[in-house]
């Protein structure tokens, strides 16, 4: 149950970061930072690491 909740939180954060990435217009540096933060979250969702 706790594991499912943590996966749900991870998915929520990925959506949040992805949405921020799409919406960001001015700060290019932030685009890279959004993607970097997403790396471990996406790997977790894909169950790669």
């Amino acid at each position: 149950m706790i594991m499912i909740a943590y996966y749900a939180i991870t998915a929520f954060l990925v959506v949040l970061l992805g949405w921020s990435f799409v919406r960001e217009k001015a700060r290019r540096g932030d685009l890279v930072l959004y993607l970097l933060v997403m790396v471990p979250l996406v790997l977790r969702l894909l169950r790669w690491k």
Partner: protein, 387 residues
């Protein structure tokens, strides 16, 4: 497409490429299966989930090889890969499976005890994902894992691991360490289900002797030894004295501390019928002050930093230019295992365990580990089990 969209597309493509570059090797490692050839002594292959149903269908389920003797006698359990970054345990078990013939009694062998851990890695330490052992017929590849189960299989970790049933507070990460989760429980976290399965096996099959084979750092005091609780210490001492006198290598006895819970050498004896032993062979790869963690260091155990520390008397084992190679580590484990069986059989004649075909220390040092590994491609149909 405007400039902003082009930039975002390029960044997203780089992101996907980065994920694939980093993730695919880990994915392949996690799904890589190691073949083990059923040797002439193997009479059955069971699954640990038969003793712990909660493991069924999970990555933590693993194979148990049964070597039933020609004559009745005692029963023993041999466990490798409790810590999957200590491959001398798993290789000792594989050599027994592929070469051993039980004359008296029954031997149960679990070569990959922490199956999840063997599919995990430690990228921060630059661990290799595989290692190859040179054999008489080519190279044989094995997964190189981590000390703890993969967080993909048991997650999240608690802030503190409260051991069951003693309620001792242990490090959070030890909830994924199958040498802290003994004796386990049927409905606990996944790694407790693994140790519970082994405890059930010992209780139901009335195992007399249980040997958990490990490796330990040269800078760690509990290395090159047999760890034994009060019930096993007599046999361990006799085994230690005999391998020194007859085979010429040191392997002292360390008492199992009664106040440190969750370890196999403590809980197996306290919660089941078996006499527990934990074998530690020195593995320089695990020491912190070494050069890069390469497969070469894993196999030959040669490191200039450890050599320098040895000259300053900072190690707990003798160490020179010859390092501490794999064949020496596996050879020690096998000789001590056979000696424990011999001493137990002398003490308990009606429950004796007699095994032939398993090489000893001198055979391993002379012929190398690979000499005793079978070629899976030459095995008869149904003679290979994937692990």
């Amino acid at each position: 497409m405007n400039k902003d969209a082009r930039l975002k597309s390029a960044l997203a493509a780089a992101f996907v490429a980065f994920i694939l570059w980093g993730g695919l090797p880990l994915f392949r490692h996690r799904h890589y299966s190691m073949p083990i050839v059923k040797g002439p002594g193997v009479t059955a292959v069971l699954r640990l989930s038969e003793y712990s149903p909660g493991l069924k269908g999970t990555v933590a389920d693993t194979n148990i090889y049964v070597l039933q003797g020609r004559e009745p006698g005692g029963k023993a359990l041999l466990i490798g890969d409790t810590h999957s970054n200590e491959p001398e345990g798993m290789l000792s078990a594989v050599i027994v499976i592929e070469n051993g013939i039980v004359e008296k009694g029954t031997l149960y062998v679990i070569p990959v005890f922490n199956n999840s851990g063997s599919r995990n890695t430690r990228p921060g330490d630059g661990y290799p994902l595989y290692f190859d052992v040179a054999t008489d017929w080519g190279r044989r590849r094995f997964r190189f894992g981590n000390r703890d189960a993969s967080p993909l299989d048991q997650w999240p970790d608690p802030d503190v691991y409260i051991h069951y049933p003693e309620r001792q507070l242990l490090s959070y990460i030890d909830i994924r360490n199958t040498n802290r989760t003994w004796p386990g429980r049927a409905n606990g976290p996944l790694m407790e289900k693994v140790t519970f399965g082994a405890m059930e096996l010992m209780r139901r099959e009335k195992i007399d002797v249980a040997i958990d084979v490990h490796g330990a750092e040269t800078m760690f005091p509990v290395t090159n030894c047999i760890v034994a609780p009060e019930s096993s210490v007599k046999i361990a001492t006799l085994a230690s004295l005999n391998v020194k006198a007859r085979e010429g290598f040191e392997n002292h006895v360390e008492p199992s501390p009664a106040g440190f819970r969750g370890l196999s050498h403590r809980e197996i004896g306290d919660h089941g019928p078996s006499l527990p032993f934990l074998l530690e062979a020195p593995i320089p790869f695990l020491d912190q002050p070494t050069g890069p963690k390469t497969t070469k260091l894993l196999l030959d155990g040669k490191d200039p930093f450890l050599l320098s520390l040895s000259k300053k008397k900072k190690l707990f084992v003798p160490y020179d230019e010859s390092g501490w190679p794999l064949e020496k580590r596996v050879g020690q484990n096998l000789s001590v295992t056979l000696e424990i069986f011999r001493q137990f059989s002398k003490k308990t004649a009606d429950r004796s365990i007699v095994i032939t075909g398993v090489p000893r220390y001198a055979d391993l040092v002379k012929g190398g580990v690979g000499h005793f590994l079978a070629d899976p491609s030459q095995a008869p149909a149904g003679g290979v089990v994937m692990n």
